[in-house]
Amino acid sequence: MGLVSRGAAAAGVGAASAVVRPGPPHAVPHPIPTPPPEGAALGSSRVPGMVLKAFFPTCCASADSGLLVGRWVPEQSSAVVLAVVHFPFIPLQVKELLAQVHQAGRVGLAVLGTWCHRRQEAEESLGHFLEGLGTIFSHEPWLQLCREQGSKLWSCKATRRQVPPCPGAPYEDQVMLVFYDQRKVLLSQLHPPAALPDCLAGDAAPSAGGLAAVFDTVARSEALFRSDRFDDGPVRLSHWQSDGVEASILAELAKRASGPVCVLLACLLSLVSAASACRLFKLWPLSFVWSKLSVCEQLRHRLEQLTLVFSTQKAENPTQLMRKANVLVSVLLDVALGLALLSWLRGKDRIGPLAEALVPVADHVAEELQHLLQWLMGAPAGLKMNRALDQVLGRFFLYHLHLWISYIHLMSPFIERILWHVGLSACLGLTVALSILSDIIALLTFHIYCFYVYGARLYCLKICGLSSLWRLFRGKKWNVLRQRVDSCSYDLDQLRLLVVAVQGLMHLLVDLINSLPLYSLGLRLCRPYRLAAGVKFRVLEHEAGRPLRLLMQINPLPYGRVVHTYRLPSCGCHPTHPWGSLCRKLFFGELIYPWRQRGDKQA
């Protein structure tokens, strides 16, 4: 070909900036025979029997003719095209740009072939010229993609200059075109994340398996997409951002403001943590009370989360970033719900009637309990009981009740104030308000808890005695020991179950708000391509004799997996009673504690 012979004859080294322009071969002044780039050596290996796959971005399908720039993955026999370099260009500058991107993203790019978008019918000279470019940028295999303007007919050719390793293997490979949306592939994140080795030494590209290599290549070549067509760079490229770099004023402002805000909040939070770690709070009665109240645990959990969010360290990987975002959104939602609750409480002055209703309700409950105890002290359901034990226990419980009622009546003027302050605490979040409510319920029903403890302990003793006797007298003697206080404890058990159920429901709500990854769910709803479970392919219009064209789309992660992957660690302070163990504890008389014991399994 004319181009090659002239180039070999006039190998002038002085003319280093020969510009390559499209046109008939004799118009090119001094093409420089450059040494083959490093990419050629890597690209010479190939897997026999595999169809060559060319991943082509959909944004370049209407671009003008030029050079294809991207990465060749020999293990999968696939060429990932990242951009199209348009004429006129200087080969040296193209190579400099590729070297720059290689340094920035540690991904080895090369010129893969030529792209021809035919505007008119007769442009044969362009075709010949493009073929000649193969000598300047030699790459194995050399791709030649061609498209008629306005038609869906594409033609692809992949030629090899080297002698094939095995005879019978053709010089030309069969090519399959796979179109992909560059923006979505760049922004998306594959789950599970491919475990890529962090390559610190050399420029060897990380070998991610299969399609993860495509995602990885596009993500690492971000430096290539930074310039758009309005920049006066040496090389004119076409890619997803070439019509204008995407940016948002709000995002930029937020980024600038986040630095000082984070520093300020981190200081405040560290002050608060230092104050709470003060020695005064470690003294025995206070430390016991703090560890048992759920509101303290919730506040501590929130403090930890806020310290994580406002820490001045940048997130190292996408998982940490998602966790920070989830925590922030969850805290904001919590505070919003708390403020809504506060406004509702203040709205029609509901605290007053609520406080006034509390004392009569407590009185009513106490009266009912008294009737119950009187009934048990007599002959309940016609059963004959141990009179002495009955009287002792009955009177003991009646005195408890009397103490409690006096305590409630003492507190009654202060209840409205207390409720007002509880409502104020909703500013810190709905979860805090719910925790305080749960603690108040626990305190108000403390007498029931005391009765339950006495009854359960006695019942447990009885059961132990019975079981040992049963072992002795199995089938030989009628067991005359009867259970005296059991009916009392069954009724108390029902009350205790109710209290445990209400507390459990509240803790469930708190845990739900604490652990649900709202930001990830919102992202899955509004931008499903960001969280990818995999890819899916669609076969495009096909004609016999033409290469196969596929469209690659992102398959979003299902909602269940989103919640499972990004669930925040919950507080772990609330006792969770699975129903089975609850029933077992009731039957055998083991105590059901309202707080978490040391031996309990973490949720």
Binding site: G49, M50, V51, K53, Q76, S77, Q174, M176, V178, G209, G210, L211, G534, V535, K536, F537, V539, H542, L548, L550, N555
Partner: protein
């Protein structure tokens, strides 16, 4: 090139198989399942509403009737969206992978793509469910163990007892010479009954 044949499944419904040949390296198999029958829908609706009316005559609460209507509607929507599969498609692309798409009656499509690098082999398993049925499975490689299998993925959820006649061994995709040979052996009634057997005696096939 397109090709259509019809079969019947183990419950007696009509199935249609469509085979499309896009290129030497791309094939598609599309299985259409029987549609929702009006008879069963009417039967279920009548049962639910009769039960609700019975409860209503006992309790004299009209909320029960509205609840029954809501339950029927929600149940039908849920069934169409999550359970009833209209069509299953298997797309095989040489040196890329295998894609399985299930289209539900409400229009939802759920797609799974398995890369070729992860496929160890394709086998036909037999299961005993009132009678012997055969179903096609894909064996996936285990990244930890080179000779192990991490997962067995059945290809079509709707199984047919005539599946061995559907996939003639010569026309299956070019996964590997090994798998074609194996399928040929299997069609001579030397069927694998479990993956454990396969793992224990792979050499008996050579």
């Amino acid at each position: 090139m397109e090709d259509e044949r019809s079969f019947s499944d183990i419950c007696g419904g009509r199935l249609a198989l469509q085979r499309r040949y896009y290129s030497p390296s791309c094939r598609e198999f599309c299985l259409s399942c029987p549609r929702l029958s009006l008879r069963s829908l009417t039967a279920v609706t009548c049962t639910v509403w009769l039960a609700a009316y019975g409860l209503f005559t006992l309790c004299e609460n009209s909320m029960i009737l509205s609840a029954a209507i809501f339950i029927t509607l929600l149940g039908l929507l849920g069934y169409l969206h999550f359970v009833k599969i209209d069509q299953e498609t298997l797309l095989i692309i040489d040196s890329l992978g295998i894609q399985m798409t299930s289209s539900y009656a409400s229009g939802k499509e759920s797609t799974t793509f398995i890369e070729m690098g992860k496929v160890k082999d394709v086998v036909i398993n037999e299961a005993i469910y009132m009678k012997v049925i055969y179903y096609l499975c894909i064996l996936l490689k285990d990244p930890m163990e080179p000779h192990g299998i991490s997962q067995v993925v059945p290809v079509f959820q709707v199984s047919t007892e005539q599946l061995s006649k559907v996939f003639s061994p010569k026309k299956i995709c070019y996964l590997s010479p090994f798998s074609a040979f194996l399928l040929l052996l299997m069609f001579s009634r030397n069927v694998n009954s479990s993956c454990q057997d396969y793992l224990r005696t792979p050499d008996s096939y050579f």
